[in-house]
Amino acid sequence: MKFEKPFLFLSALIASFMIASGVTTVSKPSNYSESYPVVVCPPTLKGLTSQISISSRKVQYQRLENRSSKTVPFKALRFPVTKDSLVISAQGTTPLIWQSRAGSWAGGTLCSGPSSAAWFVGGTANVTTRGRLILVNSGLSDAIVDIQSYTENAKQPIKSVNLKSKSFMQFSIDTLAPGDKALAVHVVPRSGRVNAFMIDEQGAGLKALGGDFVNSYPSAAKEVVIPAIPNQLPKKGEKASSLHTLRILTPGDVNTTFTLEVLSADGSFVPVGMSSRSIDAGVVSEFSFKPKISASAFAVRITSPEPIVASISSSVTLSGRKDFVWSTATPPLTPMSIAVTGLSPLIAFAGDSIAVKVQTKLINGKTISAVVKGSDIATWRVPENARSITIISSSKGVFAGALIASSNGYGFIPIQNGSALTRVEVPNSNIRVLNP
């Protein structure tokens, strides 16, 4: 055959190509390891009592100041903490800590992983304050933390704090801006594995005026949603309903305006005076409002042309005692799990179109599912015998927060991941890094 050889060579080329395409042994340029970072719960300060809700008795923990790396299981679903901050290997289900001062106040926060920055919009530095800012360094190296405070008067100088490894530090928030009333604090760890918590506790002389955890939010945004604000309805014969105070700050250099929209079961509306309201840059502003709504919880959506941080303080009364609750912004809802043993929070979902599938794991090990649907706001009460709730799925643009009532007071907890699954790239050894 005239073209026998050419066809032979051509066939060899085609065969090579097919073999090469079939047996490519090239490995992926990089591999990843996935894990949940350990979470850190705030320490229990003097005079307070704490209880941590855990999803499983096998969850391992370690006391912060324990120098060894050894961890032990909780062996309980609700764990009382006397003093230490705990480092918990929560494996995806965020523990929740509930603290209270008997007869004065109660509040909760999520035990969370180390943060790159935290905004605390809450607390006061005037004479009534007994508030504390707590910094926890769960790392094995010393840490440096920058604290930047803002008040109704001015932006304060940055305060840098050194924290020894595996230790925590607490200091009165009135030292951040002595005498000023409205406080917003930006905590930025420069190095180290740092968590920050804030407790706002107030009193006048011997009289307790209530208290609460001020939950943090990682960054300023142009749209802020605070999904669960307690609205204590007046009892029969009483006129006044709860007073809500919006505390807002634009941390940039440009003055801005904001519009606050109330999302409630009665519909969504902008309260009088809350539309295109101007605020000065770098100065904390406060605005009080009393929306007339029939539900016990509502949400607000605040929009602004410039990034802002905001929270709402709501006054409540419990057994004749005054208390307040700091409702803070939350990120959009994503699939997650939170341990709620011993608590029965009311969860408020806010959003234009709400469709959230929630699964509840009960103490007896059974699971029940529920689908929460609605528009603007929808609430769902977690069963009393629940040990954890899991957000299976959520429609887009839904935010959630939990309101908890106890004998000592009310509290707000953002529904968000305390420790997100982190995907860390497995590094390769390659001398290429030493070449520009």
Binding site: F3, K5, P6, F9, L10, A12, L13, A15, S16, F17, I19, A20, S21, V23, T24, T25, V26, S27, P29, S30, S33, S35, P37, S69, P114, S116, N137, S138, G139, L140, S141, D142, A143, S165, P189, R190, S191, G192, R193, T422, V424, E425, V426, P427, N428, S429, N430, I431, R432, V433, L434, N435, P436
Partner: protein, 1010 residues
């Protein structure tokens, strides 16, 4: 004829097997215008008809022994002469049996001495015997290295440029006229100089005795130089093994040592020995081992008999009247010797490169001088120059290259190319040293390409960065030149070969190699076209001589030194050829003749780059590696189109015509089919290997193989096939009606044009920003480079914008430089785990691991994930020491360093350490841990004894110290030195075998000689 002068001249003819020249000599003596008063012949037992000829000429004959030297023969004749009468002007005229004076020679010699009473010796101008315009001598001297110095150029044409009477150190005894009284007074010629250099010695002695020596060019003699040119046997006493060169060199040394001032003797001895060695190397290279031995034996025979020299010096001392310095003006200055040698070498090179072609000369009568005046003068026109396709092609490529390289004017690195060390010395250092301070340290053999680059750097005054920059700038032009030199063998049409070589220089593999810093592929692109030129007939390889085979071996060895892919390709090509030979059922001798030559081409290059190549046998991934960093090549589909892919390669849409050309050529009926078959084979290999990933050169991740070197073969074959097709296509297309050939030609033309436009467009725009750039900022911050001998774990996010990955390596304080990736070790498993845990935050013990391996710092180069930085901050054992725009640095806590001493009580301390070896003190018993990779060559000596060596828990070398005292840490490089010696011997042998063989003088034709 009546003799009118006052001189009495006796001609002494010494004969020794001179029948060839003797008739002419006798005739010349007989035809002198001023005849000699007396002629005496001394025959040293000639075995030819010399005596008969002498007797027939009626010349008085004195018989002497066959081993009688020239001087002794003359002495015999002088002894037989009547006694010299005081006051007489009596002269002896020495005539060799191969020296024919012209008729006026004696007359002119006597004229020259008439008014020069101080002259004791006068010689004629010696011209060639056969070429009578070739001037041999007009006075002689001796150089400091013993060389006979005439001051003339090789084959100098005599046109009277040296005419006149010159004061000289000496003249040749051939035709020399010597005053008899002085001859006798000085004791005649030295009997130790039986032949050669007796003339210089006598002239020297005459000079220091206060006499004059002159050469007069008015007197002419023709000399055949029969003994020196080995036209007859040298049988004189002392001529060991009848070797004239040995005798000449020995006598030269004797003359210098016997006559020079005593304080010059040490320097002269060194000079003689050194020059003998250099010359013997030269002779070895020219494959003349006999001459090489002569050079060394000559000096040797003299050194073992110092008494001879002592006696000779004593004798000369008695005759010396003036200072030895009088001869210094006749010794050629060193500069003249160098200049003349350089001119000779240049002439040899010129003759090789631009051989003189015999052109027909135009008769003056044919020139139209009058017409010239009427024709306007032809002026130089650039447009005409540009119409020359070669000039236009090279100029266009130069412009494209310059635009494309606008970011490459300076020290280059990036891509696979790492920064060059400042000097060739550093490269030699990496090449020679047995231990490399890279990563955790490596004793791997350095690749031979380092030596090639270091050698090439010498041409650039040792500036390696300059060499690399110029190489990358000039590479496309060199590739085009090399390609064209091959393609023009396939077609005489420059309008085909120039565009084809232009396309070869702009092929995807060239652009990708330049842009991604692939040294080996570029070298392959330049060398590949030369291979088929050296080995013209691969099928009938036995028709190529061995010298050609060895020349190709060297070329392949150079290529193999850059990449062992050459060995794989050779294995394929040669294996296939041997298989074909076997299938053809050739006769055994022919089969073996082919087999030997083919196997030489396969095995010898591999051996020449040993031990690097031998190490590849146990690390096979090295067979697919190229110099520098191990960067990924492209996908299989891209490779199929002739594009090697990877960083800096042409985008997929610039489809090159390589594959199409190969397929078309495969079905061609011309020679193009052979090229296509070769091209398709290389392409198939490239496609197959591109599917593999390798882990090599300090990269622990599997990386897709770069197959550029295979694609060089495919590209060159494709271009060659295209040239063959196009060379005859035009006539075929014109002669035939439109059919598939026209369509294919059109298609090919369109694709080629599109490729040319798109590849040039891309390369001068986006291509200019490819990875290889100049003056890039270093990785390591300055403050980490100041602390000597420190290991730093460097973490970086590297890769393209969308596919960044975290990578790390251990730095020794500086960025890597050329050659280091090739010897970089893989990572220790414990460090790999510690680094991984450092990133994911679980590495509580990472700092301890780093500390135990001597890692002192962790450096995260910006930009880097803030989360990871926080994670490291949170881990124990890392104290942040700085955070700058360059990155963040942590100090690993704990006692760590290169040499750690652990005392009996467990206390750890760091000992002072040098670059590789160290000398330091220990203050008690304990153990010394060296935080380098374990190697048998690590030794610690104390009090002259080696300390026990073992592996510690981390597999690091550990030595047990029993007492306090000074210790020395060394890495024993004996094995490396042995390999280098073997390599040097192998290369020398290869060069000698490939070099053109020199000819012994007796093999040079008479015509060439004279």
């Amino acid at each position: 004829m009546a003799i009118t002068d006052r001189h009495l001249v006796t001609a002494i003819v010494v004969t020794h097997d001179g029948e060839t020249w003797l008739p002419a000599v006798v005739a010349a003596l007989a035809s002198q215008t001023r005849p000699a008063d007396q002629i005496v012949a001394v025959d040293t037992a000639s075995i030819d008809s010399s005596t008969k000829l002498i007797k027939a000429a009626r010349i008085a004959l004195i018989a002497a022994d066959r081993d009688c030297g020239f001087g002794d023969a003359v002495a015999l004749a002088v002894a037989k002469m009547p006694k010299h009468i005081e006051g007489n002007s009596e002269w002896i005229w020495l005539i060799h049996d191969d020296c024919a004076p012209t008729p006026t020679a004696l007359e002119k010699l006597l004229e020259a001495i008439d008014d020069r009473p101080q002259v004791a010796m006068v010689g004629p101008k010696l011209l060639g015997w056969h070429d009578r315009t070739h001037i041999l001598e007009a006075g002689i001297s001796i150089a400091g290295n013993g060389a006979r110095w005439t001051g003339l150029e090789t084959d100098e044409y005599d046109q009277g440029q040296h005419d006149g009477i010159h004061d000289v150190l000496s003249v040749s005894t051939a035709g020399a006229l010597i005053r008899r009284d002085i001859f006798e007074e000085l004791g005649g010629f030295d009997s130790n100089l039986s032949l050669f250099r007796d003339d210089i010695d006598f002239g020297w002695r005459a000079r220091v005795a206060g006499h004059g020596v002159i050469a007069t060019t008015a007197a002419v003699a023709h000399h055949a130089q029969a003994s020196a040119s080995e036209r007859r046997s040298v049988d004189v006493n002392g001529a060991l093994l009848h070797r004239p060169l040995l005798l000449d060199r020995r006598n030269a040394a004797y003359v210098l040592l016997a006559n020079s001032s005593w304080w010059m003797i040490p320097w002269l001895s060194i000079q003689l020995l050194a020059s003998a060695m250099v010359r013997s190397i030269g002779y070895l290279l020219a494959k003349l081992p006999g001459y090489a031995a002569d050079e060394l034996l000559a000096v040797g025979t003299l050194i073992i008999q110092p008494a001879e020299i002592v006696r000779a010096r004593k004798f000369r001392k008695t005759k010396r009247l003036v200072s030895s310095r009088v001869i210094s003006s006749y010794i050629p200055p060193r500069w003249s010797q160098i200049r003349l040698s350089a001119a000779r070498i240049a002439e040899v090179i010129r003759a090789k490169v631009i051989p003189v072609t015999e052109s027909s000369s135009v008769s003056v009568l044919n020139s139209l001088e009058e017409e010239d005046l009427l024709v306007p003068t032809q002026r130089f026109q650039i447009s005409k120059l540009l119409k020359n396709p070669a000039i236009f092609g090279f100029l266009s490529l130069a412009i494209i290259t310059l635009i494309q390289s606008r970011n490459r004017f300076g020290a280059l690195n990036g891509g696979a190319l790492v920064a060059s060390p400042s000097g060739a010395r550093d490269l030699w250092g990496i090449y020679f040293e047995s231990w490399h301070q890279v990563g955790m340290g490596s004793s791997a053999a350095s690749p031979a390409w380092l030596a090639v680059v270091a050698l090439a750097s010498t041409l650039f005054l040792g500036k390696t960065p300059l060499l690399i920059t110029i190489f990358f700038l000039a590479a496309p032009l060199l590739i085009m030149w090399s390609g064209h030199s091959f393609l023009r063998k396939l077609s005489n049409n420059q309008f085909i070969t120039i565009p084809a070589s232009f396309l070869y220089a702009l092929s995807p593999v060239v652009l990708a190699s330049v842009n991604s810093g692939r040294l080996a592929t570029l070298v392959a692109l330049i060398i590949a076209p030369q291979i088929p030129m050296i080995l013209s007939d691969w099928k009938q390889v036995e028709t190529n001589n061995w010298r050609r085979i060895y020349a190709l071996t060297i070329l392949l060895a150079v290529l193999t030194s850059f990449t062992l892919i050459t060995t794989l390709a050779s294995l394929g090509v040669i294996g296939f050829a041997i298989f074909s030979d076997y299938n053809e059922k050739l006769e055994k001798p022919l089969f073996l003749a082919r087999l030997y030559k083919r196997l030489t081409l396969l095995i010898f290059p591999f051996v020449l780059v040993a031990p690097y190549s031998f190490e590849a046998l146990i690390r096979p991934s090295r067979f697919l590696a190229e110099p520098g960093l191990n960067l990924a090549g492209g996908s299989t589909a891209l490779v199929l189109s002739g594009n090697p892919g990877g960083a800096g390669s042409l985008p997929w849409w610039t489809v090159s015509p390589i594959l199409l050309l190969l397929i078309i050529a495969l079905f061609s009926s011309s020679n193009a089919r052979s090229f296509a078959q070769v091209g398709i084979s290389f392409l198939s290999a490239a496609v197959l290997f591109s599917s593999l990933s390798i882990t090599v050169h300090g990269n622990s991740a599997g990386t897709r193989t770069w197959v550029g070197t295979f694609l060089v073969g495919a590209t060159l074959a494709s271009v060659a096939a295209g040239v063959v097709i196009l060379d005859r296509l035009r006539t075929v297309l014109i002669a035939s009606n439109i059919h598939y050939r026209h369509i294919l030609a059109g298609l090919l033309l369109i694709i080629t044009s599109l490729y040319s436009i798109s590849s040039v467009g891309w390369s001068i725009t986006a291509g200019a920003d490819s990875p290889v750039q100049s003056n890039m900022k270093g990785v390591m911050p300055a403050f980490l480079t100041t602390e000597a001998d420190t290991k730093t774990l460097v973490l970086r996010e590297v890769g393209a914008e969308n596919s960044k990955s975290i990578q790390y390596y251990i730095s020794r304080g500086e960025d890597i430089s050329l050659g280091e990736p090739d010897v970089a070790p893989g990572q220790v498993r414990a460090i790999e785990i510690a680094a991984q845990e450092l990133i994911d935050g679980s590495g509580i013990n990472s700092s301890q691991v780093f500390s135990s391996y001597g890692i002192k710092y962790v450096f995260v180069k910006n930009p880097f994930s803030r989360n990871v930085i926080r994670t490291i901050d949170g881990l124990g054992g890392f104290a942040r020491t700085s955070a700058t725009s360059a990155g963040v640095v942590w100090r690993v806590t704990g006692v760590t360093g290169r040499i750690i001493f652990t005392a009996k009580d467990g206390t750890r301390s760091v000992l002072e350490a040098g670059e590789v070896g160290a000398r330091t003190m220990v203050y008690g018993p304990g153990s010394i841990t060296l935080t380098e990779t374990f190697d048998r060559s690590w030794q610690v000596l104390q009090n002259g004894y080696r300390l026990d060596r073992a592996k510690d828990e981390q597999s690091l070398p550990q030595f047990q110290v029993k007492e306090a005292g000074e210790i020395s840490l060394i890495h024993d490089g004996t094995i490396r030195r042995a390999w280098l010696s073997l390599q040097l011997i192998a290369w020398t042998l290869a060069i000698i075998l490939a070099a053109p063989a020199g000819r012994r003088k007796r093999e040079i034709s008479v015509k060439e000689l004279a």
